[in-house]
Every structure is written in structure tokens, then in C-alpha cells.
């Protein structure tokens, strides 16, 4: 089962990669993702240094890798909203090396390149991000593009952005009163259609 998934994603990655695909690494047998053909060059803000528990080997060096699905304990109490419970840790984290993530085709990925893991499923979004239609630039608008990683904004375990309190709205000019915008409540197209049909029946 896992193999078919890996095979499929390897296909998608091959389709996305630059046409003269870089040769597969002899040791690992993985074809590295080298970016999109026409995307302007960019570098990604490193993420690894911002991780609280990094390096993970501090603890995990002394622990046996355990892939069984179990209740998570501190300090890794996470609720997997991402995928609505379909994933377990090792969909993204590498079982035998906790300092790395794992792409959907099994390729090991550094935390700094975590976008490759996200892009394995969210391909179109990843493409938009690489070309600049999604995501955020760090500084400047000029040629040197430094962009934030997916995980700078999205919590990988719960990626939906939470609603937040808005900043204060504009003040009302002295002497004026705030007027609620006029709402011309009209029936929607389908509601109008329904009432017309009723008329016909009558």
C-alpha cells in the first residue's frame, strides 16, 4: 500500500521538476527536486534554528524508534488536525532519523526544506509559492528573493490559520455618525426562481 503511494508521488514530482531532471543520487536512489523550470531563483528562510527541541537527537538518540500509533505524551502532545486524523507522525517525520523529515516518496528532507514535504501533496500551492503568488517575502521587492517556509505561517500539525481579533477600525469623523451600509435585501436567483414557479402553479 505504501509503495503505490510512493510510486504515485514520485510521478508527480518528476512531472513538476525541471525538464533535464538531475540524475538520481547513487547512494540513496532519490531524484532531488530542483525547482520549477521558469521560477526565478529564491532562497528560503531557514527554519531549523527556530525549532524549540532541536536537535532532536538530544533525547531520541537514547530511544528506540517506535512506529506504533499510540497516545502522545509531553513534550510532543499534538492534536493532528492536519488530514483530520489520517496521518501518523511518520507520514512527515523520518522514523530512523528524527532530525529529518521525509517526503512522500521517502526522500529525507531537512527541516529547512520542509516545503518539499508539503509540496508532495499540495503541489499546486507549492508551485504558486515558488513563483510568488502564495507565501511571504522576507525583505525587499528586488531580484534577491528570500521567502518564508510553509511552516513559518502554518502549524504543520494544524495548518488552518486561526481567526484573530482585528486591529481597530477607522474612526468616525467628528460631527458625523457611523451609518451602517445600506443593504438592499433582494432574494437570491434561486429564491426568485422558486417564487416564480409557485406563481405559475397558482
Amino acid at each position: 500500500m505504501i509503495r503505490t503511494v510512493a510510486g504515485l508521488t514520485a510521478l508527480t514530482f518528476a512531472a513538476l521538476a525541471v525538464p533535464p531532471v538531475t540524475a538520481a543520487d547513487e547512494e540513496t536512489g532519490f531524484t532531488p527536486f530542483t525547482g520549477y523550470a521558469a521560477a526565478s531563483e529564491f532562497s528560503v528562510v531557514p527554519r531549523q534554528g527556530e525549532l524549540v527541541f532541536f536537535p532532536c537527537s538530544q533525547c531520541h538518540e537514547f530511544m528506540e524508534p517506535d512506529a506504533t500509533i499510540r497516545e502522545l505524551m509531553s513534550p510532543h502532545e499534538v492534536e493532528f488536525k492536519h488530514g483530520q486524523g489520517r496521518f501518523w507522525c511518520y507520514a512527515c517525520h523520518k522514523l530512523d532519523n528524527r532530525e529529518q523529515l521525509v517526503a512522500v516518496n521517502g526522500e529525507p528532507v531537512s527541516f529547512d526544506d520542509s516545503h518539499l514535504v508539503c509540496g508532495g501533496c499540495h503541489g499546486l500551492r507549492h508551485k504558486d509559492w515558488a513563483f510568488g503568488a502564495h507565501g511571504k517575502r522576507q525583505t525587499s521587492w528586488t531580484e534577491d528573493r528570500v521567502i518564508y517556509n510553509c511552516t513559518h505561517c502554518h502549524d504543520a500539525h494544524d495548518p488552518v490559520i486561526k481567526p484573530r481579533e482585528p486591529m481597530a477600525g477607522p474612526g468616525v469623523r467628528t460631527g458625523l455618525e457611523r451609518v451602517a451600509p445600506e443593504r438592499h435585501e433582494k432574494p437570491k436567483v434561486w429564491q426568485r426562481r422558486d417564487s416564480q414557479e409557485q406563481k405559475h402553479e397558482q
Partner: protein, 312 residues
Amino acid sequence: MSNDSQKAGDKFDQARRGFLEKLGKAAAGAGAASALPAPAWGGASFLEAFGDMFNKQYKKMTRKEIDAALSRIRRRALRQYGVEIDCDDTPPQENVVFGYAINISTCQGYRDCVHACVKENNLGRDSQVEYIRVLEMDQGTRNLEEADHYYDPDTVPVEGKYYLPVQCMQCDDPPCVKACPVEATWMEPDGIVVIDYDWCIGCRYCMAACPYWARHFNWSQPKLPPEEINTKTHYLGNRPRPRGVVEKCHFCIQRTREGGQPACMEACPTGARVFGNLLDPDSEIRYILENKTVFRLKEDLGTEPKLWYYTD
């Protein structure tokens, strides 16, 4: 203009300036004689205090006159707010026309951009002038008459609503420029529509001409807490403005001409704002214009806005 009449004009200018300086010194002298601490206008000379009134239009000033005006602005800020500001007039970059794109699928209506803009551009804290208005509208509609920019729920985004930030569109065929009777506003080579605050007569014709409600009038001298003044200013941008002039978004000219991001883009936590060079085919904004679903506000008016909205 022939060389002779140019010289004559210069001579007249010199004479006028000399006269004003003498007048100022005489007045200051009179002040000293009657043991007053400083002249009533607070300046060292008459020219110092009222020099801005005799400025030419920015485009017609010589380098020397611009430098004099800039240093006068600096001294005025020091007198008025006790803050040493840095005012320059960085010229536009070659082969650059600025464009802006806002992703309305991503915009959450936080209004972080609005407040970053107020701080960056030294907007009066009491005048309720804000360059950016974030409109809240029902999903599936784009009726600006039903849009609300005073929205104030506990959390945004509200279910069933979407948010559309509106600011100066930096039109390529700007109706405000056509409406100005004194040419106090014009489009720069990099596409930014700017205002010469010293040349503006405050008639507000441009405000009536603008279909986006993007221009704002200073009914009073903008009140700025000295500690909050942004000291990096530009002659055509965010320098402290006097009372009675029109102002508007200038794509943060003091930042973007030096390669920086506009303050609203920097402040946006969602990354919904994309700013860049429309002439660079590899730029992010060109990718968006060529590959995403984009629209412009009130495009049918033919003002050719350089601010696009796009959706995922």
C-alpha cells in the same frame, strides 16, 4: 525660455531671497531689541519660517533649491517635534514601474496593513486619515455600496464574508492628475502618483475626481507624537505635512525606491500583498498577472489602476 530671460529670472529670485532674508534679520533684530526670546514665527529668519510658501513646483526646482527645501524641512521638524528627521528625494529607478497585487483569498481582514501605514507615513493620529480601507463584503457579491469598512467583530474572518483592502490604485491614467488645476500632483516615471505638498492649494478637486476615495484632506495640522515619528522621509512621500493639503498612498516611496517593501506588505502576516516591478518578466507580480485570476476595481472607468486583486 531663452538664456537671457532665465538669467533675469534667477536674478529676480536672488533679489527676492535677499530681501526676505534681510526682512527676517531686521525682524529678529527688532525682537532682540525689545528683549523677546524669538520671533513670533519661531524661525531664525523670515525665509526660514515662510520659505516653503515660495518654493517652486518640485519638478521645476534646481538641485540647489531642492537641497535648501530639504534642509528647511529637517529644521522645521526639529523645531516642531524636536526630532531629527532624514528627508531626501531619492529618484526613481531605471526600468521600473511599480505594481501591486492583493490576494483576496488570503486576506483575513486583520487591518495590520492600515496601522503599519499610519505609523510609516507619519499620518496624523487625530485626523482619522488612513490610506488603506479594508472593505468587508458578503461572499459572492462585490457591491461596494454594501461594503462595510467599520467592521469590528471579535475575530476575523467572519463566516460568509471576505475582505478587500482599498488604497490608492496608482492609476496609469490618473483622473486626479487631470483634475489638479496647479499641477501639484503627477505621475513619476516609476508609476507612482505623487503630490508636492508645498504646491498643493487644497482645492480638493482631485478628491472629487478619484473614483476610489483614495485621497484625503488634512483639515488640521496632523498631530504626531514625537516619539512615533518615522524619521526616514521623502520629499514626495511621508514628510510631515502641513494643514490644508491633500495626501494619499504613495507606495511607500521612501522605501520602495531603495528596494524595500511597502510598509503594508511588510506588516501583512498572511502574505496577501505582492509588490514588484511590472517591467521585469521574472517578477512575482508578473507571474500573478499572467497565471492567476485577477481583476481591478472599477476597471470600466478606464483609469488603468496598477493595483490588481487576485484569487487562488
